[in-house]
Symmetry: C2
Subunit: 574 residues, 2 copies
C-alpha cells in the first residue's frame, strides 16, 4: 500500500474530549472516524487489524468445533418476546416498526436467534454438543459512550453459543472455551489479561467469567491475590473479615451528636475509629417506595451487586428525608422499628463487633457501646460489603490488591434459560425430551483493537503486536527524488511483498521528520529507511518500533532479515 | 466437519411458497433459515460459501487498489439530510429515534458515509484517485421479498466508492472496475452473466451498468443482440423502427366502434392489423392529478422508465374514467384537446405511419385513415416504447432477443452528486478547489450465492462450483460399523484435511440411500464413497457431483486424485 493514497487523516492533536490514550491515538493516526456518538467508521489499517483479530478468533473457535454461521442484525419482536427480554431490556435496545407496522429490534446479542436457528434442526441428544458462532454487528444504545472504540453503540462481536445434554458436558466445554479465550488474548498480543468470576447480569445463568485487561482507564474493578492467583470482579469478590473484639464491652450510651450525620464526622466527633462505627444505607426496591436498610462497618461500602442478588430485585439509592420511621443520618440497627420496611440486612463485617457507634434512631443522637453478640442476638449476617485493597484473600489469606480493568471478553454458563423459554427440546437417550443446556461466549472486536492500543503505545504513537499489525513493514524512502533511493525502495517494496511481507510504502515527497513521526504514530512493527547515505554503504536501516532492533542491513539481505524478525515475533505470540 | 454435528435441517420438501429453485433447495439443504420476512440466518455451509465469494471479491477489489474499510450500519439522519436522500427515499429506509431522541437510519447503501469518511482526510488532487470498499450489512425494507436470498430486506453487500479528479479518470477506473466484475463473476462460477447499460435510478449519475444473470426467474428483462453483442436493460434498450407506409393514404373516417375500447377488440372489429392502430396511455404526474397522454403503435407497450426520464418526474397510471376531456377507450391523437393536459407524447413508432386507426375523442367512436405525415404535421416524436423480441438491433440491425435476468452487481458513474451536496472539495493542481467525481460499485453477497444456486442445480439438489463450494469433498462411509470402513474413512478424512482439502465427513449410521441423497442435496463437488465392497479391491469410489468423473481409486491414490480434480476445476474458473 502506498501511504500517499491511504485515506485517513493523521493529525497532531486528538479529540479534546479523549481521556483514553487509545481513543486519541486511533483518531490521530487516522484509524477511526466518528460518524455519530458511539458510531465509527474504520479506515484501512484499522480494518486490517480487525481482520487479523477475527482470523485468530476464528481459528480458535474452529479448534473447539465451532460452526461459523450468521444471524441477522434486525430481528422481529416475537423472538425477543419469547425469551422475555423484549420486556426486561430497557432503552439500550433499539425498537422500531417496519413498513408493515411490525415491531422489530436491532440485535444486542443473539441468544434468541441461536435458539431459533437450532430448535427445528436439532432433535436428538446425538446431535449434541455443538457450538455455533458468528461475527456480527450489534447495536446497544449506550447512554455513556466513551474511550473511542472502548465503549460504543455499534460494534462487531464474535458471539458463540454452545448446546449440551447436561451440566457436566457444558462444564467440560466451558473449560475448552476458557482455554481458547486465553489463546486468543495471548495470540493477539494482549498481555495483562486476567479471567475473573463475574456477575452474569442480564444474560441469566450462573457461573461466568470476564476476561479483563488490567489498565488504569478500565471502568471495572478487579480484586486480585498476587499470592495465590485468586481473581474476581468486584461485583462478586469476597474476603474473610475477622472482628477483633475489645476485651471489655461497654454499656450502651446515647450521645448527642447534633448535625454529625455521616461516618466521617461522627467518628471525628467521638474520636472513634471508623471501624468501630456502623453505617446505615437505604435503598428502594426499583419501581417501588419499599425501603431496604443495610448495615455495614463504617469503613466499608455496600456492594450493590451482591445485595441485588440476595434481594433478587433491582435497587436504587433511597432518599428517606422526611420519613417518620427512618431518621436520616441517625439510623441505627439497635432499636430500629422494622415494621413497614422491606428488609434489614447486616453485613458479615459486623459479626461479633463490640463497643460500636451507631445511629440512635432519633434526630441528633447516636449510641456507643453497641455489642452485636450481646445486643443483637439472633440476627443473620450476609456478605454485602465491597472488598478493599489489603483485605484478606478468601482462598489463601494473603492481602488482596485492586486493579482497574476493561472487559475484553466473557463466557457464561447460561443453563436452560433460553431453551426453556423458547421451547427448544431434544430427545434424550431415554426417549424423554429435555431442554439443552447452553453456554455463550463473546468478544468485541473493536474493543479488542482499542484495548491493545491502550496497552501498547508510547508518547509517539501506537505499537502493534506482530500478529495483528496492519502491515509488517513501513518502508520510508528519504529523498525519493534520488534515482537510486527510488529504485531501491521500489525494488524492496516489490521483493518484500513477493515474499509475503505486508508493506506500507511511504512514497511521499516530504521530510524525514514528517515520515518518521507518521511512522511512529501508525505503529507498524518494522521500519525500513532507504537513504542516499545508507545506499553509499549498500545498506538500509532496519529498526523495530519497540527499538529492540536497529541495524544497517545490506539491501540484498533485507527480505531475509525482515522475515526473521517477523518469525521471531510471531513465535513469541504463539 | 462431521455431518452428524452440522446444524441445519435437511428436508424433503421446500417452503410451499417457494417459486425459485434456489429458495427451495437452500432451505431444503439447511443452508438458510427464515427469521422474519426477508431476514435470514445462514448456517455453516452457506456462511462458508459467502466467505469464499467475499475472498474472491476482496482479491479483485485489492487488485484495482481498493482500500477495505468499514462504515456503520446505523447512521445519523444528518448525513442523509446532507445528501437530500433522507427526504427522497421512501418507506424502504428504516428510520428510528435513539434513546436521546435523535433521528437515525439503517444504511441502505453508503455513499454518504464514504464522503463523510473522506472529506476531511483528502485535501489534494494528489491523493486522487482512490477507492474505498467494504462488506457490510444493509437493510432495505422491501415491500415484496421473494426467492429466498434473491430479494431480501437484510443483506451483506460489497460496496465500493471511487473518487477522481475528472471524468476521464473516472471512466478509466470504471473500465477497470467493469473488468474486475467480469473476473469476479467468472471466478465464482456464475456463467450466464451479461453487463447491460441501465437506468441508474435513485443513485443519481449518468452511465451505469447492471451485471445480470440470465435466468427464467429474473424479474428484469434484458434486450440482447446475439449477432453483435448489444445488451441493454429493458428500461433503456432502444431499437430502430422503420414504418412501412401504405402506398395510398385513405382519408380520415369516423366509425362507430361501440364498446370496443382496447386495441385487441378495435383491431378485431375493424379487421385491422394491431400495427395499424394507435394506442393511448394516460399517466398522472406522481402526487398530482395532472395527466400526461402518450401515443404508441398499437402492438407496442409504453416504457415507463424512458417516459419518466423525459418527464423528469415520477408517474403513476391514471384512471381517467369520468373525465370531460379524455374519453377513456376512445382517446386519439387527432383532434385531441390538449389544453389542461400536462403533456402529450408521440412514440417514434408512429413517425410517418398512415392509414392508422385511432380513438376519435368521442365515446364509442374511432377514426381510420390517419396519416401522421399529412394529419399531424409538426409534432415531435420521442422514444417511449418497449423493445420487443425480434425488434431490430440499434447497432447492427439484426433481430434482438429478450431474456429475464437477476441483477447480481452494478457499477455507476455517480459524478459529483454526493461530493457537491456534502461539500467535499479538494485542491486542484491549479490551486482551485473542486468536487471530486465519484463512481460506485456494488455486489450483494447473499444474492450471488442464491444466483449461483439458481443457475447450478439439478432435480436432486445444489451443484456448487469448486471455487466457492462449502467443502471440496463429501466423504461417505457405507457401513460405518465395519472396522475397515471406519478406519479407512477416518484416515482419508485426516489425510485429505492435512493436504488442504476441505471435507464434510458423513459419519452417520444411516443407509447409503439416505447418505447419497443428502450428499446430492448439499451439492459438494466431489463425493468419496468408502464401502466394504470397494475396500475388498483396495479402492474407494470417487464421483463428481456433475458426473464428469466416476472412478474407483486405490485408497493410497485418493489425495492425489482429489487434488487433481480440484486443481483442474479451479483452473477452469481462473
Amino acid at each position: 500500500m502506498l501511504l500517499s493514497k491511504l485515506v485517513g487523516e493523521r493529525t497532531k492533536n486528538g479529540p479534546a474530549d479523549a481521556t483514553a490514550a487509545s481513543h486519541s491515538l486511533l483518531v490521530r493516526a487516522g484509524f477511526i472516524k466518528l460518524v455519530s456518538n458511539g458510531i465509527w467508521s474504520l479506515s484501512m489499517p484499522a480494518k486490517r487489524i480487525t481482520q487479523k483479530i477475527e482470523a485468530i478468533i476464528r481459528e480458535e473457535m474452529n479448534a473447539i468445533d465451532g460452526q461459523e454461521v450468521s444471524f441477522p442484525v434486525v430481528m422481529p419482536k416475537d423472538l425477543w418476546a419469547e425469551s422475555g427480554r423484549y420486556y426486561t431490556i430497557g432503552d439500550e435496545m433499539v425498537r422500531f416498526k417496519d413498513r408493515g407496522g411490525r415491531d422489530m429490534v436491532l440485535g444486542m446479542t443473539h441468544e434468541e436467534a441461536a435458539v431459533q436457528f437450532s430448535r427445528d434442526a436439532v432433535n436428538s441428544y446425538q446431535q449434541l454438543p455443538f457450538m455455533i458462532y458468528q461475527f456480527q454487528t450489534k447495536f446497544r444504545d449506550e447512554a455513556r459512550c466513551r474511550g473511542g472504540l472502548i465503549r460504543v453503540r455499534e460494534f462487531v462481536m464474535k458471539d458463540a453459543y454452545s448446546f449440551h445434554t447436561d451440566m457436566e458436558d457444558l462444564k467440560e466445554y466451558y473449560e475448552k472455551a476458557y482455554k481458547a479465550y486465553e489463546n486468543i488474548f495471548r495470540r493477539i498480543g494482549m498481555k495483562r489479561v486476567v479471567a475473573v468470576k463475574s456477575d452474569s447480569g442480564m444474560m441469566g445463568g450462573s457461573i461466568s467469567h470476564e476476561f479483563m485487561l488490567l489498565t488504569d482507564i478500565g471502568e471495572d474493578t478487579i480484586v486480585l491475590c498476587p499470592e495465590c492467583g485468586y481473581k474476581a470482579n468486584m461485583e462478586v469478590a469476597t474476603t474473610v473479615r475477622k472482628t477483633e473484639r475489645d476485651a471489655v464491652s461497654e454499656p450502651i450510651k446515647e450521645i448527642f451528636t447534633g448535625d454529625s450525620h455521616d461516618i466521617e464526622s461522627v467518628a471525628e466527633l467521638l474520636r472513634a475509629d471508623k471501624k468501630k462505627t456502623v453505617k446505615a444505607v437505604c435503598y428502594f426496591l426499583k419501581g417501588t417506595e419499599k425501603v431496604v436498610v443495610c448495615f455495614v462497618r463504617g469503613d466499608l461500602e455496600i456492594n450493590e451487586s451482591k445485595l441485588t442478588k440476595i434481594l433478587m430485585s433491582q435497587i436504587v439509592p433511597a432518599d428517606i428525608t422526611g420519613s417518620d420511621v427512618l431518621h436520616a443520618g441517625n439510623i441505627g440497627c439497635y432499636g430500629l422499628k422494622t415494621s413497614g420496611l422491606a428488609g434489614v440486612y447486616y453485613d458479615e463485617s459486623l459479626r461479633g463487633a463490640n463497643n460500636m457507634v451507631a445511629g440512635a434512631n432519633k434526630d441528633g443522637y447516636h449510641i456507643t457501646g453497641l455489642d452485636f453478640d450481646r445486643d443483637m442476638p439472633g440476627i443473620e449476617y450476609v456478605d454485602i460489603a465491597k472488598v478493599c485493597e489489603g483485605d484478606v484473600c478468601p482462598v489463601c489469606g494473603k492481602p488482596l490488591t485492586l486493579e482497574n480493568g476493561i472487559e475484553v471478553g466473557n463466557i457464561f454458563q447460561l443453563g436452560t434459560k433460553y431453551t426453556k423459554a423458547m421451547n427448544m427440546t431434544v430427545l434424550g437417550k431415554d426417549g424423554v425430551a429435555f431442554n439443552p443446556i447452553m453456554g455463550c461466549y463473546g468478544i468485541g472486536i473493536g474493543r479488542a483493537l482499542a484495548s491493545i492500543a491502550e496497552e501498547s503505545h508510547d508518547e509517539k504513537g501506537l505499537i502493534w503486536p506482530m500478529s495483528i499489525c496492519p502491515w509488517h513493514v513501513s518502508l520510508c524512502s528519504l529523498r525519493p527524488d534520488d534515482e537510486n533511493v527510488k529504485d531501491t525502495a521500489e525494488k524492496l517494496y516489490a521483493d518484500l511483498q513477493k515474499a509475503g511481507v505486508e508493506v506500507l510504502y511511504d512514497d511521499r515527497n516530504v521530510s524525514a521528520g514528517y515520515k518518521f513521526s507518521d511512522c511512529d504514530l501508525i505503529g507498524i512493527p518494522i521500519r525500513i529507511v532507504v537513504s542516499p547515505r545508507g545506499l553509499n554503504q549498500g545498506t538500509v536501516e532496519i529498526q523495530t518500533r519497540d527499538k529492540a532492533v536497529c541495524e544497517n542491513v545490506p539491501t540484498e539481505k533485507v527480505v531475509e532479515f525482515v522475515n526473521k524478525i517477523i518469525a521471531e515475533a510471531m513465535e513469541k505470540l504463539k
